[in-house]
Symmetry: D2
Subunit: 147 residues, 4 copies
């Protein structure tokens, strides 16, 4: 699939509105910093109340942000009137998430008409700059539910 | 590995204290309903602020609860003075999580001295009674960090 | 989805013919021992030339058999004229595959019209009787290619 | 972990001897084309007897080669006297493997003392040049079994 060089204003607005409608991202405090065709970047500053038992960021939080990054990478390029839904993902955790600031990127690796395969990464940005988790995710392209 | 029939009072207290220390589970509103050797059950009633863009529970929330269910299934049987840390998991999402009440179970499938493999399930309990996600997870057994 | 209690003769023949057309299963020496709606069982006796460096069965062999078990569990219940293709799977290896005889089962966990999620297990049957690997797999239902 | 710039002659010989001892790679006809610290490349020309029901390369074959690519990427950098064993992998299949020549690469993403996380890719090289599968794999570092 040949991806467009950049998103139309309408498509970017659609992606941003949809991201803003994910109340869980708001609860976590995650922001959609960047979106281009088949790619997103989410930034995240650690808030209270999201830890596991030793004070590291819960594995589920890093995963949730990576999932949204992958999902919106897919949604940025689905056909008009469609949406993308996660059907599975796998996360490998490389290091404990001990830092204060994180960044997740999502990238479409294969864009099919029914299925999109995405690659996600979660990076700690403060105090260190290092990869803490990788994700592979499968998204299903579907007609957007009527609102 | 021969699992004990039931947990000692000390071990159950250790598991429950550790679960209570996971501030993310408190934020989500998830409760550890049951723990026995190599098994846990977590109950969860939907709260605001945890949705994806169409009002379903975010995939990351179901995953987070399943991860904690699997993690504490492992922690319930690690050697004294040890803990278990998630090194990877994969979740398959079978149906959108539209309901109000959910239950996650975690079960140790293979208990090794260094690695535990766990199986997790997330069930919607209200209004329907159906499986919405399955997880396979790998936990690493490690010395518990000194507090 | 309500599964039929048993396969029609035509469907069973279709599944068995398709399995027989998988030349890799013949090369490995794997036999389709049982097929019922949404379920298969494959038996396998170790042959030479399929090992990893320490003489255990190569992880890829156990995975290949589990993949075919899951695939034909799905194919047993796809609509007439359709087929199922693996879009992803994950395998956890619980123990080295040191034995001589193995059995893989595949089971459909969720049968959707486009996507089927399957669970697979590989058991060593000789000399021990124990689970050596688990699989979760996603199959896509598709129109069968014209021959 | 700081990786060495290149492998010692002894280490390269160790990796190549171990790969040669994987009888399954010989059966498939896969060759270890390149090995450097934390990286391998395997080339593979399609042989008869390795297909699925429509004449594409069986998903298990692509996976097996990617698993060996990842495994030897890890083995190239384990401590002296150690080996690496696959504990889990996941493969996403992006396109049917219809071609005649393939290449798998394996790369260590995180090298821990007990666990290595690897990324694998399978490329079709003839007639097209395109990515057909991606893998994420977890390897456990272990004492090499006495021979």
């Amino acid at each position: 699939m040949e991806l467009p060089k950049q998103l139309s204003k309408q498509r970017e607005a659609f992606v941003r509105d949809s991201f803003a409608a994910q109340s869980f991202m708001t609860t976590l405090g995650a922001d959609l910093a960047e979106v281009s065709p088949g790619f997103t970047r989410i930034v995240y500053h650690r808030k209270d109340g999201l830890n596991q038992q030793h004070g590291f960021l819960h594995a589920g939080v890093a995963t949730s942000i990576a999932d949204s990054a992958c999902g919106y990478a897919a949604i940025s390029i689905v056909p008009e009137g469609c949406d993308a839904l996660t059907i599975e993902f796998k996360t490998n955790f490389l290091r404990p998430a001990a830092g204060n600031a994180f960044e997740a990127i999502g990238k479409v690796v294969k864009a099919g008409s029914q299925i999109m395969v995405c690659h996600g990464e979660v990076w700690e940005r403060e105090p260190s700059n290092r990869l803490i988790a990788t994700m592979s995710a499968t998204m299903m392209v579907m007609e957007q539910p009527a609102s």
